[in-house]
Symmetry: C2
Subunit: 337 residues, 2 copies
């Protein structure tokens, strides 16, 4: 179901992570939902058991494929995910859809929250759809989503689709937790491409001009060709893959097989040249380092006098009264004194 | 002079930052050189006085313009800087050339270290050229360069050109300390653009296809046009400026006035819309935060048992035995216990 399940966690269930995990790997959706609620929670007693679950799930992640899907609002992400997900299921996959939408608290969870979207996919027994957590801060949402990926994989889902709403920094977070990054674009009435965001297109492995239907079909093809030419100016990334541009119509269900094949070609490519494995390792280490740095800083900032000093110092730096490096020196000395 | 000046700092000179600073703002080049040697040094007694100098210099930076210049080796950066610098001097500017080349330790300071380069500029009394510090680690080199900018500005140089060698992450560092980021490119025998690096072109405010001379002139123009078309796919950054592509021949001294005008137009644009001021503030705060985080981490890692635990934990994370967030939790608890 595309709406957030309202599943209560009972007190007595909070003591036994291995017990919950047993239900989870047996594929019981209710327990997957409960587990995801736990990883999304910030309550201490929930975090404790969530961590145990995540640790139990960690070894199960090797066989899955994680695909990030981005594109500005209106590009047709939900329709695309429905088509793509159903296609994947027809090929024998179990599909899980997650989302990162740091704005969802404000917009009341519009992303994936609309019951009318993904009707067919959400009704399918081989699909599991989970709306974005609404905890607000991107860091927390991203952590919860990444942990959710692990739990879904342990629950037997082997294709994880992570939708990002295409605003703010959420794309970078999603990019840092997936194997494939797919970007949806639109052509407008002319043959211009819409929906391009600075710094995002360069992360895409697969670009898809959507809504190539009806009168717009020809425009979309021209736009895709021009974009393919422009990609010339984006040298190969570490995966050694040349990003490609395809057109499709999620509405008419046209071209989805082409995109499916393209994704599989990409996965094959990066598995062969070992980038898949390297990238997952690198992603894990990066998450670790970033998370460590954030947590250490948070703890340090719990010190009230440090926090006060930090705010004062930042003001001085901003107004050009104090050199940034000297300010950092001063503050570090202040803390360790 | 393009060679690193071999200026000794006498012990007794290390006590009196205001004294040194007085010579510096009086425009005495020898004292500027000494001061830059101090900011590049890692010795405790040098750092102490360097910090005082930097702090004294901080209020003097408002009137200068800082231009970052990037491009792969062979693109003609030195020739460009010589032409551009002399042109700026002819317009009444005092020009300082700095460089960031984290590889210079290995290559023995090839960048700006070649005496035959920038002959005319380096001989000019209104120019000051300083090769990249050779201290190796990019972080340290970048800090030293940024501090050098401030000292050069206090010494009366109002146009600061910072060259980056176009390898590794040095561009990002330079980009984070300049007002204008200029990228030099080449067209090859066909009309393809050479020298594009992923993630770098998007940072450029002004793109210049160099070596548009002789037989290559027409190719360069075609290439510049195509690139201008492709720039379409890079939406406007926060400065609200549409990046442009020009051709020039640094060798024949053709087109340098066009680039000079373009730089001035850009500066005028960002001063009018207040991005200039905002960007400098943002840069300062970013340097501060990054520097603070690095320094706190460094201090924490001075704890030997933490350092050992960190290495062990990272290994477990890399090999998928431990979840990155849980690992960060564990390590944070370990440190604060």
């Amino acid at each position: 179901m595309a709406v957030r399940p309202n599943i209560k966690i009972k007190k007595r269930e909070l003591v036994d992570a291995p017990g919950i995990f047993k239900h989870l790997i047996a594929g019981k959706r209710e327990w997957l939902s409960k587990s995801l609620t736990l990883v999304e929670s910030t309550k201490t007693e929930h975090r404790k058991i969530a961590k145990e679950l995540v640790q139990l799930a960690t070894p199960f992640s090797r066989k899955s494929i994680r695909i990030g899907i981005t594109g500005v609002p209106g590009v047709g992400k939900s329709t695309f995910i429905e088509s793509f997900g159903l296609h994947a299921i027809s090929k024998g996959k179990k599909v899980c859809v997650l989302a990162i939408d740091p704005s969802s608290e404000i917009s009341k969870g519009s992303l994936l929250g609309d019951k009318t979207r993904m009707d067919h996919l959400s009704a399918h027994s081989d699909a599991y759809i989970r709306p974005s957590p609404t905890s607000g801060a991107l860091g927390g949402v991203a952590r919860a989503t990444r942990e959710s990926v692990l739990l879904c994989e342990a629950a037997g889902y082997d294709l994880i689709l992570i939708e990002t709403v295409g605003v703010g920094q959420s794309e970078t977070k999603v990019h840092s937790m997936v194997d494939v990054f797919l970007m949806l674009l639109l052509s407008n009435a002319g043959d211009e491409i819409q929906g391009i965001k600075r710094g995002i297109m360069e992360m895409a492995d697969i670009l898809v001009v959507n809504k190539a239907d009806g009168n717009n079909s020809q425009n979309a093809k021209v736009a895709a060709n021009q974009l393919q030419q422009a990609l010339h100016y984006f040298p190969l990334g570490k995966s050694g893959w040349t990003s490609t541009v395809d057109t499709m119509s999620a509405l008419n269900n046209e071209g989805i097989d082409k995109i499916w094949t393209k994704c599989n070609q990409y996965i094959e490519h990066i598995k062969l040249n070992n980038f898949f494995e390297q990238n997952r390792k690198l992603q894990a280490v990066n998450w670790f380092k970033q998370s460590l740095s954030e947590q250490l800083t948070q703890r340090i900032e719990q010190n009230d006098s440090f926090k006060k000093k930090l705010a004062e110092t930042e003001k001085l730096v901003e107004n050009g009264k104090l050199d940034p490096f000297i300010a950092a020196d001063l503050l570090t000395d202040f803390y360790f004194k």
